[in-house]
Symmetry: C2
């Protein structure tokens, strides 16, 4: 009886996690399976569920239970769980039910429209919906900002990456701005001297899919607890017991899908290895979006594009598609370590990727803080792309400011996670390499057991037990240190 308040809370959060399960599956279905005319009813159903979840989480009793549970005799995990419960409660209680419902409705409408508006380059139609999303997100940010005593944008950032601020980001990204353009130029110049043989398609979708499945198997994806499907924007969804990753196929170009699958497999393995014994409780959830991205980028960039892994991957590619000049080993490695200034974030190499993130960060921060409006986005996008990458997106909304799904759902504050994740990934890979002296030969021989065990012991199995800073310090001996990312890029590309 001594933990009755805590136990009452665990039952409530267990119930919430079951509704989260239904939300996740219906959301996955919306992006992968749902026919066009199902959209309105689905949007209404998800909004209804959002309101229900919000009502359960912000029930008047919860605040009292949280306070009373804090006085109970809890072990370390239970105390961490209580901390996370409190955080989720505090994030939720700031928002009225009506705003939660409206956010869900305008988000599903904007995302649904985007599915056809993006291929049609229809900025006019898209921006009409996006303005609604921005209006609601600003309202949300305002409420959160007032409660937390921070800026609007920082209040959203804090949801995805607890403790992160735009002041810290300005330092991290300001540093990048100092050395990255120069590094990018050097790498591009260096690679311009090498001749590269382009792969000759077409690459049949079904064969690409089989190769994706082969690679997921190689990377330990559990197919009894997950799937691979197709969506307009790749993602990792579902629930830890049933992880749904997606990709998209282009029959002219096979690497985008293949490395997309490797990326999502990193997310998936994190989810599939979250602490089973705490599932249903907030402490079992992934630590943050940046830590999630650190796992996908660990898989895609640190591991996936390393020379030993590419050497291991090559026979799987030729087994599915046969040999061709582009698949000669050195050329194959160079193809997948190629650095190019391009329009599309998800297709960007790891050297130019931060440029895509910083420009989005600057735009979304100004948008949420009210310094710019939706109508200003295309011009700003074009200006920043010119400045970072020398590319014009004028009139090219499809491959410019309409390329991502994040803003359609009001996920402002998410983008910085990608570059934070890249930094964490580099730091983690350095730590794993120190801990596992035989790592390179393990990778060469296709034995990932020690590496994945290291990730499981240091990241996956902890869920949200520790803060991000604690987790990273425990795993690597220090808090976030962006130097590892710079060193990694210089060592691989210069």
């Amino acid at each position: 009886m001594e933990k009755q308040n805590y136990n009452h809370l665990t039952r409530t959060f267990q119930r919430l996690s079951r509704f989260d399960h239904l939300y996740a599956i219906a959301g996955w279905d919306m992006s992968t399976m749902m026919p066009a005319n199902g959209s309105q009813a689905r949007g209404e159903a998800l909004a209804e569920l959002s309101v229900l979840k919000h009502q359960i989480l912000t029930d008047k009793k919860i605040a009292t239970l949280l306070q009373a549970a804090a006085q109970e005799d809890l072990d370390d995990v239970e105390r961490a769980n209580l901390r996370e419960m409190t955080r989720h409660y505090q994030e939720a209680v700031l928002l009225p039910d009506a705003l939660v419902e409206e956010k869900s409705l305008v988000g599903t409408r904007c995302e649904h429209g985007w599915r056809t508006q993006r291929p049609a380059n229809d900025w006019q139609g898209f921006s009409t919906n996006l303005k609604e999303v921005v209006r609601v997100s600003r309202e949300e940010a305002q409420l959160r900002a007032e409660a937390k005593g921070i800026s609007r944008y920082d209040a959203l950032l804090d949801i995805y990456e607890p403790g992160m601020t735009s002041a810290k980001l300005d330092v991290l990204f300001g540093d990048l701005r100092g050395w990255l353009p120069d590094l990018l130029q050097k790498v591009v110049d260096k690679q311009a001297k090498e001749s590269l043989i382009a792969p000759q398609g077409p690459f049949a979708t079904e064969t690409q899919r089989q190769l994706g499945l082969d690679t997921m198997a190689l990377l330990g994806f559990d197919f009894n607890g997950g799937r691979l499907d197709v969506s307009a924007h790749p993602f990792c969804g579902g629930v830890p017991e049933d992880v749904r990753i997606t990709t998209r196929y282009n029959e002219e170009e096979m690497f985008s899908s293949l490395f997309g699958v490797i990326h999502e497999t990193g997310h998936a393995r994190y989810e599939q290895n979250l602490p089973r014994e705490w599932l249903g409780q907030p402490v079992s959830l992934a630590r943050s979006t940046a830590i999630h991205e650190s796992q996908s980028l660990f898989f895609e960039m640190q591991l996936g594009r390393s020379a030993p892994f590419l050497k291991l991957l090559l026979p799987k590619v030729t087994e599915r598609f046969g040999p061709q000049p582009a698949f000669e080993l050195n050329n194959f490695i160079n193809l997948n370590q190629q650095v190019e200034r391009g329009f599309i974030r998800v297709d960007a190499d790891e050297v130019s990727y931060p440029a895509h993130v910083v420009l989005r960060y600057e735009i979304e921060r100004a948008l949420i803080d009210g310094d710019i409006e939706v109508d200003d986005i295309p011009a700003l996008w074009n200006e920043k792309m010119q400045s970072w990458l020398g590319l014009s997106t004028e009139g090219n909304y499809r491959n410019g400011c309409m390329q991502d799904i994040h803003w359609t759902d009001g996920a402002f504050g998410y983008f910085p996670s990608y570059t934070l994740g890249a930094m964490y990934a580099a730091q983690l890979f350095a730590a794993a390499s120190r801990a596992l002296p035989q790592l390179e030969s393990d990778i060469a021989s296709g034995d990932f057991s020690a590496l994945f065990d290291w990730l499981k012991q240091n990241i996956w199995q902890h869920g949200s037990r520790f803060t991000t800073a604690q987790l990273i310090t425990n795993a690597t001996g220090e808090d976030l240190n962006p130097l590892y990312f710079r060193k990694h890029l210089e060592s691989r590309y210069l």
Copy 2:
């Protein structure tokens, strides 16, 4: 203000229908997409949602609102909606939350196990789960029986087909028992004299799928509001705005899937044409399972296996699979009007089909009323199969008492709907033929507009506005008359 109680109820039922939407999609996913290890979490999530829906529907305020709304100034549709609301409330309020949750849990567990136990012919494993389902269903039936003052089985039957009783079924099925075995024998003898060329496979799954899609298009399925997928047991699920039908493929035999698709398309077109303006309200729902089956059997049997339709279908088959001797017109028609005593209900022809239904009806009634136990099922199944069709299912559980999904979910009382549906379908087709003198030539030319318009005007667009008896009397001029079914079989097969 004068309809405030009624309006309050419509908002509550609108909310319920959104949760029904999520239940339908997560249920569809469970049968079509979910990997094996997702089962437990999904089962728990669905059970949680069942309890929530039950709590909303049985909230103490509902009874008061229903009574007060009955005094308000409602139009005919609103009054029908109130009647259906009251029926749903009364069906639900009889059951405690705990029983609802348990029913959902044991049902998903039994269904999930059945997916692998059936192919493994594992009666032992299956019966352990089924006993739990039967225990809970008997509890449910007992509560319903006490409240309604009728037998346990009749209390379940009444959920699927309001107003139907086992006394009425005994008359209808007793009549069948009188003439059907003789008719079946005559047809089998007649067909034994005709030589039949069997189709030569294999028939590639993907090509079968394309043919299924062609046929759905021919029959007016709206692909912007629905999908075709694969499941162990074919069904029509989803929601009216997004109807999900399924089939299963056997590369040695193509007609089972093709006519399964035609069958489910009948269900789907009913759902896709339910009254849009009332969606979300109980009055918008399909009238009953028997009326639902009447639409699928109208499509599959009355229309689909008629000579003019088969003649229309043949070029679509040869377009996909090329010509072969079995696809000569007369042989093609005979193949699809072939009558054979077989093990599998869903593959049965329309002459022997009622035998499959009556035997299940007799077993499930005895099971629910407590006259037999789960362990008695295999012997009874074998005995009744011997008696009706001369086939032994001894030891062959897979193709005997384990072939259907219905009992796994506790859907006792559903099976009679199939034969009631066949009777309604024959009666409706006869009425449509009287109303549309050009029907046969319309079908021959592939113009179904008048026929589907007749179904829409007479059945689809009414949802649950009328009772089954009113609906059928309005459409055909009389209440259920099984003579049309007998006449149809005699005319097509003798």
